[in-house]
Amino acid sequence: MPQRRIHLVRPLRFQVKVLEDRCKGCQLCVNVCPRHLLKPSNRTNEKGYLVIEWKNTKTMGCIGCGLCYEICPEQALRIYAEVE
């Protein structure tokens, strides 16, 4: 679905935000990320689920592939492109 993607500007980097109140800690995103940037945290949300944490790395960081977004049943992840 090409109209869902934004290609107008060249992104510098990507940021992923975890909406913790939505996350259920199912860990499907953990296994799908090619760069292994998503890991279970030691925090629970108000429903008691162990939420996921996104930690970028300087090298081999997030490539904005969107796999985590696609697999997340709760749409708990938001991917942002950093632009100049």
Binding site: R4, D21, R22, C26, L28, Y69, P73, I79, E82, V83
Partner: protein, 248 residues
Amino acid sequence: MRVSALIPKYPEPETYVGRTHYCPGCGHATLHKILGEVIDELGIRKKVILVEPVGCSVLALRYLKVDGIQGPHGRAPAIATAVKRLKPEKIVLTYQGDGDLAAIGTNEILHAANRGELFSVIFVNNAVYGMTGGQMAPTTLIGQKSTTTPTGRMIEYAGYPLRICELLNTLDAPVYLERVSLYDVEQIARARAALKKAITNQIEKKGFSLVEVLSNCPTNWKMTPEESWRFVKEEMTKIFPLGIFRDR
């Protein structure tokens, strides 16, 4: 390098609101999400009437911001028939589990399909009765354990898994029958395309469409979400082969 803006890669979803009651990793939530994406993309949110079933997805209308009706167990096709005939300008969808569509509601779906009613069916096959605690469904695999088949489903006692797409493919009227799954990102994309096709068929007034979605039930299968999707990929697809059965 100065960062001056953060641009969201995906548009903010309009139809799907998330925060579901489904168990972690349940395919119902993934399916709601992609259904919401398709509805957003086609821009038909205000025209959709979703008939939700009895089963885990009985509260689907809480998570999808569309109009709808909650049908009695298995009777969604009868309601959808009435709604579509009375309001042909609406986009009528039914969302049904396998206990709903393939057990108590088999005759409903068979006759609706045979009449070629102009609505689209989303059939969630997770091989058990999820909501009531994991009893055997007609779609339970041979040898699969459930609360009513504690030693595994036996053919002598419970017969064979019922294949709805193949069954409906013997009828003349349906225009589109496809079986998809959600076990990885690629399959999710295929499932999204199938939902879009089924809804587009209705918009173009082609005829009855059904998309069967092989889903999971980690809670009643007593598996982690990851394991359950592996079971779908490795075991369920052997009995329920994926693919397009009819596309007219």
